[in-house]
Symmetry: C2
Subunit: 826 residues, 2 copies
């Protein structure tokens, strides 16, 4: 029995009328695309084209566009015939004019932008605005209805497509992959996403690899390998490939329409069979059963057409159509000579606009006959405007998962493990709208085993009996590709769902550029009224710089925060919770938020709990605060020195330094400050979370030394505070790119962030101390040397540090000699 969302087709539907409608849509979309690239005026060519009708700056990309338009037209047909719920992901998103043209033809464009009407004046505006100051971008962009995928940086279309398909069992995601894009690493591995999609509970991704032979100035790899290799490659990727070649040597496009339509029907019938089989349980095989047949071979299409198909074949005696010269603006000099202006006019007239637009300039019925209705239009599908569908998560009270903190530091927990217990309930309560993504680090980051209480890792390849928590469907997605995790999560969020990406801190840099694009997308969507807010992109970065015990220098890099804070303050948030309760409070906030990127850095190793849950909530609400129990201030009086910390390890060292100071310099008035919300440090004029100067001054003083122990590269503290009154008094410590495989305390010593060095810093910076406490200063130097010596002899940290505790009753919170059974990454 068919899956209702994916019926088999009925044969014999491809009438001449349908073919004519396909071709009319295609010609109309091509005409509108060329018009956008070239024309300021005279949109219907109802008078001879003149130089002044042409834009002074010709910006855009034609090469990929006719292929995108062809696919769009054909998808329209099958959407109507089978009542499919479909979105269109445009890998070669620089083909922006094509997607705008198609959204205009199906009526969506005029609905969301009412000033672009369906008449000659609307056409004029549609053309003029493209790549024009004050208009719309050159690429498929947030401004483009129906898009969840910016056409800027290439490589992520399939990851986005699969992210959209997860938990959307009735959705078909048509994903056009460009042959240039296909050379990127992220795209090359994203074909393997088919091993992670569950044919029963997830939707269907239909990849359409569009081979047009060229990138900007070079051929593409996949267009230039033997056809048997090409077919083998996609079989090897686990797909059933279908190849359609057409449009070469002037072949009549009608023949291509026929072939492509027939293949599309065949492909959709394959999909219908797979979905029906999945409903019947064919792919539910358990471990140990016969597995080779249990993962379906999803179909994919390879469409080979000339680059820039239908543009002038030759210009000035040089071949353009079918070459790299058609990549961008094939007729770059359309405005420069009368002859070139005529070439443009002839090119546009070849699409026979008089057949496609009526007297008023509206597209005629033939050209729009294939447009589906309402939300079935790919440009109008609410899935591609995920905020419309998004429902807040059902979240249990995180306070119920609090760890007990009878006094500061009196108990010890692994913060991420505690978070895992709460996340397990998020999974339980939101079985279809929340997923956790990670590059095989969920266990190492200690969210496991808790998160597997109510779910498994989704895996649709072979399962062995020695595997743990693998299943055909599950809430945890793990592939050793940060690109895939990021891309899947972005696709999942953009279509209205929720999730988080847990990753080793150092390796999140792998997706720096993907983060850039997503942050830019969010910034732009905030200005687009019809785009509804989506869930925030939440990072959980653990296995951080200070505790890379198994790996060392290559795994030490806290610079993602520096990267993130360059992006618009409207969209980025950075949190450094310093114990289990502050992490819980922070993450609850993140999972409720919209349209942000939240970066949360947290420890996974056993570490002291400092705040009760009530204190943690209050502290996180303020974003930073004075830890009164840790300091030696006299109420109402200003301190002699401020010890500030952001991050779990820096806070530990600051507290240990504060304890030494309390014992050794009892008359010194020390204030201890912890910062969870890093953006509080910025000026309120620069970031919405920024403290006012008055608040900042009240906490940090304007005239006292501030020793700031920071989790990451120390200069970021200066960059965030350079306008603050007390800025010149700040001395920041942090990771200075010194590291190797060594003990935790040796790591902080290597970077002068250790408690002993902080005490030395205080002695050196508080007026009058260096004379009185020369001996203490020397003792601190000696303690550093002794610690180093001990570590090199014994291979572990000195007992004074390993067993250090804030209060008498506290457990050891220093080094943990734990032997990771979960393991660390390579």
């Amino acid at each position: 029995m068919d899956d209702p969302a994916f019926p088999h087709g009925t044969s014999g539907e491809l009438t001449p009328d349908t073919i004519a409608a396909l071709d009319a849509w295609w010609r109309a979309a091509n005409y509108l695309s060329v018009g956008q690239i070239y024309l300021l005026d005279n949109p219907l060519l109802r008078r001879p084209l003149t130089r002044d009708d042409i834009k002074p700056r010709l910006l855009g990309h034609w090469g990929t566009t006719p292929g995108l338009n062809l696919i769009y037209a054909h998808l329209n047909r099958v959407i109507r015939e089978r009542d499919l719920n479909t979105i269109y992901v445009t890998g070669p998103g620089h083909g922006g004019p094509g997607l705008v043209a198609c959204a205009y033809l199906d009526g969506t464009y005029s609905e969301v932008y009412p000033h672009i009407r369906e008449n000659e004046d609307g056409l004029r505006k549609l053309f003029r605005q493209f790549s024009f100051p004050g208009g719309i971008p050159s690429h498929v962009a947030p401004e483009t209805p129906g898009s969840i995928h910016e056409g800027g940086e290439l490589g992520y279309s399939l990851s986005h497509a699969y992210g959209a398909a997860f938990d959307n069992p009735d959705l078909l995601v048509a994903c056009v992959v460009g042959d240039g894009e296909a050379e990127t690493g992220p795209l090359a591995t994203s074909w393997h996403s088919n091993k992670f999609v569950d044919p029963r509970q997830d939707g269907v991704v239909l990849p359409i690899l569009h081979l047009n032979g060229y990138k900007i100035a070079n051929p593409t790899v996949l267009a230039r390998i033997p056809e048997d290799e090409l077919i083998d490659l996609f079989r090897g990727y686990g797909h059933k490939p279908y190849l359609v070649t057409g449009g070469f040597d002037g072949e009549d496009p009608i023949e291509v329409h026929k072939r492509f339509a027939a293949v599309l029907d065949e492909v959709l019938d394959d999909i219908a069979t797979i979905k029906a089989d999945a409903r019947a349980g064919r792919y539910d095989a358990a471990p140990g059963e016969e597995q080779h047949g249990s993962t379906p071979s999803w179909p994919m299409i390879i469409l080979r057409t000339p680059k820039g198909w239908t543009c002038p074949h030759e210009i000035d005696g040089v071949q353009v159509e079918g070459t790299y010269r058609a990549h961008q603006v094939p007729l770059a000099n359309a405005r420069d000579t009368e002859a070139h202006t005529r070439i443009l006019e002839d090119w546009m007239k070849k699409y026979r606009p008089e057949e496609l637009f009526d007297e008023a300039g509206a597209p005629v019925g033939l050209a729009t006959a294939l447009a589906p209705d309402g939300d079935r239009r790919m440009s109008a599908n609410p899935v591609a405007n995920g905020g419309l569908l998004r429902k807040p998560l059902s979240l249990r009270d995180f306070r119920d998962f609090a760890v007990d903190v009878p006094s500061p530091g009196a108990t010890v927990d692994e913060a991420t493990k505690v978070l895992g217990h709460w996340l397990s309930t998020v999974i339980e309560d939101n079985p279809h709208t929340f997923r956790i993504f990670g590059p095989d680090e969920t266990a190492s980051n200690r969210l496991a085993p808790a998160v597997y209480e109510h779910t498994d890792k989704q895996w649709n390849a072979e399962i062995w009996e020695t595997d743990d928590h693998l299943a055909r469907a599950g809430r945890v997605m793990e592939m050793l590709s940060e690109h895939q995790c990021e891309g899947w999560l972005e696709g999942y969020l953009l279509t209205g769902r929720h999730g988080l990406f847990n990753c080793y801190e150092a390796f999140i840099h792998i997706v720096d550029s993907m983060f850039n694009q997503h942050a830019k997308w969010l910034k732009v969507t905030r200005e687009i009224p019809w785009r509804r807010p989506i869930s925030s992109l939440n990072y959980l970065l653990s296995s951080h710089v200070w505790r890379q015990d198994h790996n060392g220098f290559s795994h030490q890099d806290p610079g993602f925060i520096d990267h993130v804070v360059n992006k618009s303050a409207d969209v980025v948030r950075v949190y450094l919770p310093f114990d289990a309760n502050t992490l819980l409070s922070t993450y609850d906030h993140c999972l409720r938020s919209e349209n942000y990127v939240n970066v949360v850095v947290a420890g996974k190793q056993p570490a002291a709990n400092w705040l009760t849950m009530d204190e943690a909530v209050a502290h996180c609400t303020r974003g930073l605060g004075i830890l009164e129990w840790a300091g030696t201030e006299v109420p109402g009086d200003s301190p002699d020195v401020v010890l500030a910390a952001a991050g779990d390890i820096p806070t530990l060292e600051v507290l240990a330094a504060a304890k030494i100071l309390r014992e050794q310099i009892p008359d010194l008035r020390v204030r201890v400050v912890n910062v969870v919300d890093l953006m509080r440090l910025q000026s309120e004029t620069e970031h919405p979370h920024g403290l006012s100067d008055r608040e900042f001054d009240a906490i940090f003083t304007t005239d006292k030394p501030i020793l700031f122990a920071y989790h990451g590269y120390p200069w970021l503290i200066h960059r965030l505070t350079y306008r603050r009154h007390g800025h010149d008094n700040i001395h920041a410590r942090g990771y200075k790119e010194n590291g190797t495989t060594t003990t935790p305390f040796d790591m902080v010593m290597l970077n002068d962030l250790d408690r002993y060095h902080l005490v030395i810093d205080v002695i050196d910076r508080v007026p009058g101390l260096s004379e009185r406490y020369a001996e203490l200063r020397q003792n601190m130097q000696d303690a550093r040397l002794a610690a180093r010596q001990y570590t090199r002899e014994h291979g572990e940290d000195i007992p004074e540090v390993a067993n250090w505790a804030w209060g008498d009753s506290a457990g050891a919170v220093g080094e943990n000699r734990s032997v990771d059974t979960g393991g660390d990454n390579a």
Copy 2:
């Protein structure tokens, strides 16, 4: 006739003695690997193992190691038999103990680290130092002889391998790819490198995919797909795959040795045939000829063995060998109970150390019988310590390529195009040691067509008649994968050659994390006496943030500089040449330098030339300087305001602002400063290029307003100068993440970097001006509005800006309405 470097084998060589020697090496290497992970003492187990013999912190990765050791042993055999010149690239580089063990067995280790002798004491030290404070890192690292590939972040092994093979026609690069690593994007596309290697002029990469089924806590994709898919995949990648499976269900390793040895012989015979054919010209087919047979199907090996093979099969009733539990330290509790200590002892004794080490503790002849001699040892091959082989480039005098600058701004050129002419001679004069890498952007960045004067783009797939400058061998390497470009170049540099990576500025973030790893590698190698300096990694970033005319917001990100300056000051350099002559001078410097990462950002659009070559050389030598002709200072007197700029567009706007000020406020003493070497801004205590405070103060003053127009995110200027005396007077302008597809001047206006806004900044900040020049201030506001209005109406910049010139004789240096035939990226 055979290629002398790659002879066919002679049959019948695999005697029982050879098999025994293979197995002995393998057992010895495995023994030494386990010893490194676990033992502090008792290295030969000549007394019963005790708890105190075991390290307190057990850190390392066993799972991949036995496979790495097996491959190493077998490669030794064929190197000896065929006299091959071979290096070993370890994709699963977390298997550090294995590579250290093999380097010890072939004698290299004791040569480069004489304190690690070939006796019991040496073994004790070898074991103890591993992952130990003061010792060596846990991964394959710069400290590991024979390595060019850090075992930290996964995904780049094949790219590095191909980089090593380019222009090394006699080299065999054996590259082990882990099945976890194989899931990463960069690795997934790097298989296509075989289309870029020339069988005649380049060396051979032999990929060995090691499938052991698991990553950290999850199965791997390639180990869990049907075998026919696996084979199809590698056929699709253009390889001829050979599969060896062994070691499961307790199979005798001797049988695996036999099978693997036989396959290796077959594979090397395939390679010998391909190389012989290449010498005979079989692969030299030109465009239009029969192409399908012209790209060889290079062999590759798939080796499937159990994860952690030969470790205890079960521990405490749970299977370990062959599961993810063997990834790191399979017996994590070896120290905790007597029973577990015995398990460790039994495990190590299974390798029969008494057969492998003599009385003194030196490896016996049987265990080292396969070691090749001298430089043929993979650990000692000088190719893997490229500085030993590196020869400086032959460089013509860049001054001869200077553009003529009769007066500042009097001529116009495209800076990167000018550089291209000089680079063309670098190519001509260094035909085997210099390459240019780029993701299909060499033309767009305007190094072409000049760079193709003496070379082509290397391309070993199908060539069409419509292609330009493609050939089987060439100096320019273009694939649409920044990962590949970076990895290839790194491999090329690490093996002693030279090159540069040209890329769009925004998309260089794609390799942020690869840059991290290379910068860390360079930092560490500076401390290793036997590692010789290699050529610097040179970036040429063009199509930068201010001139992304075709693309817009997604292509605007100048933050790579921020990312780079977080790394050790010993290795990073950032240059912002602001015209053609300063770019020439800068790049000459970069191509001569060693052990740095040089980031150069330069414009590609027609722009004014400001400095004569003599001036440019002097200016670049200082790294920054006062442009006296542009200011209105009175000699010997201090200025009223400093206008500083870094970058071509900011300098243009600063000069235009200076011209307005000169005309409108003639009594204002303006100093104009340009910064080419950004690191000059840092304190001399923080960066070797840093100016002394005295020098800084002399240029920037300590008390006058400094308006700093910067190419990138403006806060970086504060981060670099926060300790400078005049810091509080600095007001930085730069890219504030405002952008879209618009005109060049609209871009600077969107970010308040334009000339009019700079004049307003001066009026607002120089005491006394705001009252006197309220009207000028209003005029500047009006000029901004007018410019915006004009642009939105006409789609191009106002003539005042487009035709602006510094002097009377100058050409227009504002907007260029050029229609890019080279095209821009997607």
